[in-house]
């Protein structure tokens, strides 16, 4: 029944807008990014081709297409804080919390975002950085918006947020590739890459791929023991410190 319905829908789509029936075949260069002791960032490539939809009579699809790749990192609860001067001393006085805020967010596109589509489409699909600040937990809407802007600015300074409007290159009419350099401070966790294909301002195809940024080997072992065996980890730190101190004394015959 569902299949029949889906088939009907596909058929209807083909009838209504034959030129827009497209699908995306895409791939990420690495499905996992491994953090080792010498981790200093990682270069990734997203590539794909836009093809006619399955069952479509067309052999090729007509462009011009615009492609937007959105890379999202694991979510965290973040606060933005503001310092003010009270009695001559600068201190944090106001803060707004953003629950489930992405720890990493980069947009790569084949052209200027405001030329690719309208602001409503971009916001509802979370393509603009500002769309993530709507989760502000603040009574005051205006304050939430101000702190959200500042948070995006701070994240951009740290290289965790970014928009590259020339990040996607078309190698032929319907084959694209996008390059992204994950910074060394990219937080570990599950990442998702969402690819949108636009034509005349409308999304005609989309696809999502996951990849993981994770610590491996010794780094993973250390990070895991710090959170799962904190007492043993602390004891080992102390023993290591005592041993290093003792050894230093022996070597230098103090």
């Amino acid at each position: 029944m569902t299949r029949l319905l889906a088939a009907c829908l596909v058929f209807a789509c083909i009838l209504l807008a034959p030129a827009q029936a497209a699908r995306l075949v895409s791939q990420v260069s690495n499905d996992s990014v491994e953090i080792t002791s010498s981790f200093d960032g990682e270069r990734m490539t997203f590539f794909g081709t836009i093809m006619p939809d399955a069952g479509s009579p067309d052999k090729t699809v007509e462009g011009p297409f615009q492609v937007v790749v959105v890379v999202l990192g694991p979510t965290q609860n973040r606060v933005a804080r503001q310092m003010t001067n009270n009695f001559g001393i600068w201190s944090n006085t106001a803060q707004v919390e953003f629950k489930g805020f992405p720890s990493y967010f980069h947009v790569l596109s084949s052209g200027r975002l405001n030329e690719i589509s309208d602001i409503t489409t971009l916001t509802t699909n979370n393509i603009l950085p500002e769309s993530h600040t709507l989760v502000a937990r603040s009574e005051d809407w205006w304050r939430g918006a101000v702190f959200g802007q500042q948070l995006i600015r701070l994240m951009t300074q740290d290289g965790l947020f970014g928009v590259q409007e020339n990040g996607v290159n078309f190698l032929s009419d319907n084959f694209y590739s996008a390059r992204l350099t994950l910074p060394s401070n990219a937080p570990p966790g599950p990442y998702i890459a969402l690819t949108y294909v636009f034509k005349n301002g409308e999304i005609i195809a989309r696809k999502s791929e996951g990849f993981a940024v994770r610590k491996i080997g010794f780094e993973r072992f250390l990070a895991l023991s710090a959170t799962q065996q904190p007492l043993a980890y602390g004891l080992i730190c102390v023993l290591l410190a005592l041993f290093t101190g003792w050894l230093g004394g022996v070597i230098f015959k103090r």
């Binding site: 609860n77 804080r81 944090n92 710090a226 959170t227 730190c237 290093t244 101190g245």
Partner: protein
């Protein structure tokens, strides 16, 4: 050569870490202090998150003080009885300090308290030390023989109840001031990531009249035991001890301390104290300025809820 720190979740130059560890170790060997009061601010200014810096430096202070404590122990220059009282109350204070640390971090006021704490503590200790050492230097220039304080000189503190006999220090004093000093240093040390040697030594000398030959050893033994306990507390409570960061600092620190200790032999005691006072004051002024000068960026951000 870059090295990735698994807890701080950032990559730092390995030589930079060992280098500042060594430089601070040299100074700590020279002046006979743990060096935490220099290392924690240096790490914070170079981008390490404040919680990770404070917790990891605690581990480094243990290593920096161990070789000195062992050397003093072999010479029999530690009053273990007195150190035990200081450690017990110190660990109790550290519990409070680590709990306050977690509360302040979540409220976003940790940086302010660290800055204020360093300013007040280093400012007052530094000024006192500067005045005292300048007087000593001037007196010596005039040719006045500086009279050493005698251990049996008493003040009001020696009149308190609950007296205990400390054989090695040749003291028969109340335990209340001893416990109070331990408690205070435990609290402040775990909150600010410092060993507290530069508060402990003057407190033992001027308040308790502990004789000079056991002061340094006892203070070092207390720092080792208390900071070891604090490291474990930080590891359990805030899970922000970065063992790789701490180890890099330890290696630089223990090596630097040996050179510092031999360089220290060429300077006289009051000159050393005067130089240390200037250093302490410089750090205090740096923190004071950061409180009053308008920040370049009034906005900051932080991850809350401990999601890693």
């Amino acid at each position: 050569m870059q090295i990735y720190l698994p807890i701080a979740e950032m990559s730092v130059n390995l030589f930079f870490l060992v280098g500042i560890g060594g430089a601070v170790g040299f100074l700590s060997g020279l002046f006979g202090v743990g060096g935490g009061f220099l290392l924690t601010p240096l790490l914070i200014f170079s981008g390490v998150p404040a919680p990770v810096a404070v917790a990891s430096v605690t581990g480094q202070v243990v290593a920096a003080s161990t070789s000195g404590a062992l050397a003093h122990y072999r010479r029999g220059a530690i009053d273990l009885h007195l150190a035990m009282y200081l450690v017990l109350s110190g660990v109790l204070g550290a519990f409070g300090g680590v709990a306050a640390f977690a509360l302040l971090r979540d409220a976003g006021q940790l940086d302010l308290v660290i800055s204020l704490g360093f300013l007040i503590l280093l400012g007052s200790v530094g000024s006192l030390m500067l005045v005292e050492s300048t007087r000593a230097i001037l007196k010596q220039r005039k040719g006045v023989v500086v009279r050493e304080r005698l251990p049996n000189q008493h003040n009001w503190i020696h009149g308190l109840p609950m007296r205990v006999r400390f054989k090695k220090s040749r003291l028969y004093i109340s335990v209340l001031p001893v416990l109070l000093i331990g408690l205070f240093i435990g609290f402040v040390g775990s909150l600010l990531g410092i060993g507290g040697g530069f508060i402990m030594v003057p407190a033992l000398v001027y308040l308790l009249r502990v004789p000079g030959n056991v002061v340094i050893g006892t203070s070092l033994a207390q720092v080792v035991a208390m900071m070891a306990a604090t490291t474990i507390l930080h590891a359990v409570q805030s899970q922000s001890v970065d063992i790789l960061l701490a180890f890099c600092l330890m290696v630089g620190g223990t090596a630097g301390a040996q050179f510092g200790a031999s360089a220290g032999k060429y300077l006289r005691g009051e000159q050393l104290r005067g130089l240390l006072a200037l250093l302490v004051l410089a750090v205090a002024i740096r923190f004071g300025l950061s409180l009053v000068i308008a920040p370049a960026d009034p906005f900051s951000m932080a991850v809350v809820g401990g999601m890693r």
